[in-house]
């Protein structure tokens, strides 16, 4: 309806917010997870000061996972640095390390990890172990060679892994499409959550009800102008993803827009539905937040849905963003077409229709 467009236009500040905020959110949140965890600060206490120990430490540094920020003299200093939160990890190489290795012996190396952030801790643990083992194997082979007199040894198994999608395992390529989906979900929900309830509070709804306007006309009038606004946001967020974060869209862009349209109708409709059943804006806000929070978790944005307990798993299907997330990741990351996306597309379309009809049916042209 024309009126809504005028409403939007008359309030340029809000319009700017509506258009800029999702982009800012994407940029901000995009960076938040950009680091596949790397450059973990590492304190080194190399008591051996041998070429072997130097070589060993270099491996940690070269891996990119760790950044050696402090050179210290003993365990106590490492622990102090971890306590102070200045470094997350520490490594203590004993004094006899170099001698023992050179003479074909074995030496313990102590690794310290700040476990308070499990994500960083796990990543650090994995990296520390892998690097330690790789170094260990290499040294072991060298020692063997030396003992056996130049025989060429190799390790028996050489496991090779090939990633089909997102070959460099960049989290960004997975994260950004998910963010685009969730940002659009939140925004579209908020855009319309106040649509009807605001008019109810202002008293203009009473005036509308005494006109012969049909319920579906009113609902459609509330949704359509925002579809346009939200489509601009699809373009902007996908654009930022492509050009700012360098996440390529592997699939068809028109398909992405087409399916976004279905999604937007559904989630804008959900907003109108909320607006419809609320008696004031406070209630609408409240209901909307309790849809948004599960949207983050249950949709599979952060945690894969496959591992969720059944209740959480099936609850995810009640949110349009769950389907849309699969679709966006499918198109952007995998580049698949409609045939493969169909299992996600039709439920989303059904959802959109159901929500719309529910809004129309629940809207009573009365005030009691």
């Amino acid at each position: 309806m024309r009126k809504e467009i005028i409403h939007i236009r008359r309030d340029p500040k809000t319009l700017m917010l509506v258009i800029i905020m999702p982009v800012m959110m994407l940029v901000l949140l995009g960076y938040a997870v950009t680091s596949d965890i790397e450059n973990i600060p590492l304190a080194v206490a190399d008591l051996s000061k041998s070429s072997v120990s130097q070589n060993f430490i270099d491996r940690y540094w070269i891996s990119g996972f760790f950044e050696i920020t402090h050179d210290v003299k003993n365990e106590k200093e490492i622990l102090e640095l971890i306590d102070a939160g200045i470094v997350k990890t520490g490594i203590l190489i004993p004094e006899d390390f170099g001698r023992k290795i050179d003479t074909g012996g074995s030496s313990p190396v102590q690794f310290y990890i700040d476990g308070s952030n499990p994500t960083v801790a796990q990543a650090a643990q994995l990296a520390a172990e892998t690097i330690g083992q790789a170094a260990s194997q290499e040294i072991f082979i060298k020692q063997l060679r030396k003992q056996m007199g130049g025989v060429n040894f190799t390790l028996p198994i050489d496991a090779r892994i090939r990633f089909l999608y997102n070959p460099n395992m960049k989290r960004m390529d997975f994260w950004i499409p998910g963010l685009v989906a969730i940002i659009l979900q939140i925004q579209s929900l908020l855009l319309t959550a106040f649509a009807i309830v605001r008019e109810r509070e202002q008293g203009t709804l009473e005036q509308l009800i005494v006109t012969p306007i049909k319920s579906w006309e009113l609902m459609l009038g509330k949704i359509l102008p925002f579809v346009a606004v939200a489509l601009v946001n699809v373009a902007l967020t996908v654009g930022v993803g492509m050009f700012w974060f360098g996440v390529p869209v592997a699939g068809s862009i028109p398909l992405l827009f087409g399916l976004s349209l279905i999604f937007l109708l559904g989630s804008l409709g959900l907003g109108v539905l909320i607006s419809n059943i609320s008696t004031n804006q406070m209630q609408a806000m409240y209901i909307a937040s309790f849809i948004m929070i599960p949207a983050f978790i249950l949709s599979g944005l952060l945690v894969p849905r496959d591992n969720m307990p059944w209740l959480a798993y099936y609850s995810g299907y009640l949110l349009p963003v769950t389907y849309f997330l699969e679709i966006v990741r499918g198109i952007i990351t995998k580049g698949v077409g409609i045939t493969y996306l169909w299992p996600w597309v039709w439920p989303m379309a059904v959802f959109s229709l159901v929500v719309f009809f529910l809004s129309v049916v629940l809207f009573r042209k009365r005030i009691d």
Binding site: R2, R10, T204, E206, L208, V210, P212, I213, K365, R366
Partner: protein
């Protein structure tokens, strides 16, 4: 189907839980007449209007608007009526023109007829200079006119106005009523609620509501004639002293200050002379003493008083019977 009466209300009742907001109210509004629904806040006026507009479902009784039953055919009713709600209900961030345009579109007006109608209404409401003013910047009186214009954008033969002039200055109120008169002359029937008693004088017929019930239904003159007691107005000196002694005279029912004047309700006309003598004997100089026509406000106050007395005595009898 020819309909003589624009509105027929028969024992219309609305209850909210235990509370009865409108209690068996009946009245009719002949076509082209202005009907005023008077009463204090909370008397049930707004609830009555909302039921007639199809905003609320009546709990009991019948109401027909322009031949359509409000219970069975609310959508037909809606195409034929204009409604101006108590709360100012236009879109504040739209201009006058845009508000009119919006309602014109809702009522399905298109193209040239729409533009012409909008121009006509802007002209009628005198909004020519405020055509592109954002509504929230309009003064109360202009908004009221704009709201009226929006309510009649589709030329409704029936107009419901719920306290249309609340919070508007007296001159603007008068001008607003002139607009209503013009509409009535063109054959539009009007139902208006108000608690300004002076506005009721503009109406062909008046219904007085008090505590959910219709306590009086007549034209203004008949209502004024219904007061049995006589009202006199006195213009005199030392009013405090005068008031004191007036209350001591037998036959004086009530005496009160009314601006710089005294209003005294008396039982019989003869009491007037008694007052005159008494005041002069006390050395109060009387400039003027005369009988006046009661205003509708006086009528209303006296009616409520007798209603209350009836209620009290009824309760008294009830109590006594219990013992």
């Amino acid at each position: 189907m020819s309909v003589e009466n624009a509105v027929i209300v028969d024992k219309l009742t609305k209850t909210f839980g235990d509370f009865t907001a409108v209690d068996h109210v009946s009245f009719t509004i002949p076509k082209g007449e202005i009907f005023g629904l008077l009463g204090p806040n909370g008397a049930g006026k707004t609830t009555t209007i909302r039921m007639l507009c199809g905003l609320l479902i009546p709990s009991d009784g019948d109401a027909k608007v322009l031949g359509y039953d409000v219970l069975i055919q609310p959508e037909e009713v809606k195409t034929k009526i204009g409604y101006m709600s108590q709360k100012f209900s236009l879109y504040n961030d739209l201009t006058s023109y845009e508000n009119l345009d919006f309602y014109a579109r809702i009522y399905g007006l298109t193209g040239n007829p729409r533009e012409n109608r909008i121009d006509e209404l802007i002209e009628m409401a005198g909004l020519r200079n405020h055509r592109s003013t954002i509504t929230s910047n309009l003064s109360g009186a202009w908004r009221q006119r704009l709201a009226l214009a929006c309510a009649i954008v589709h030329n409704p033969p029936m107009l419901f106005l719920d306290e249309p002039t609340a919070g508007v200055d007296p001159i603007s109120r008068r001008e607003f009523w002139d607009l209503i008169y013009d509409l009535a002359r063109q054959g539009v029937s009007v139902l208006a609620t108000t608690h300004y008693m002076d506005e009721a004088e503009y109406c062909n017929n008046i219904g007085m509501m008090y505590q959910s019930k219709l306590i009086a239904l007549a034209d203004p003159d008949t209502l004024r004639g219904s007061i049995k007691d006589t009202l006199i107005e006195i213009d005199c000196d030392s009013q405090g002293k005068a008031l004191q002694s007036l209350k001591e005279i037998s036959g004086v029912l009530e005496a009160a200050m009314h601006g710089a004047l005294l209003h005294v309700t008396i039982e019989k006309k003869a009491v007037k002379n008694k007052i005159k003598e008494r005041l002069q004997s006390e050395g109060v100089a009387i400039n003027r003493i005369e009988e006046i026509l009661p205003s509708l406000e006086d009528v209303f106050v006296s009616m409520i008083k007798s209603k209350r007395q009836a209620l009290v005595s009824a309760e008294f009898i009830e109590e006594r019977e219990k013992i």
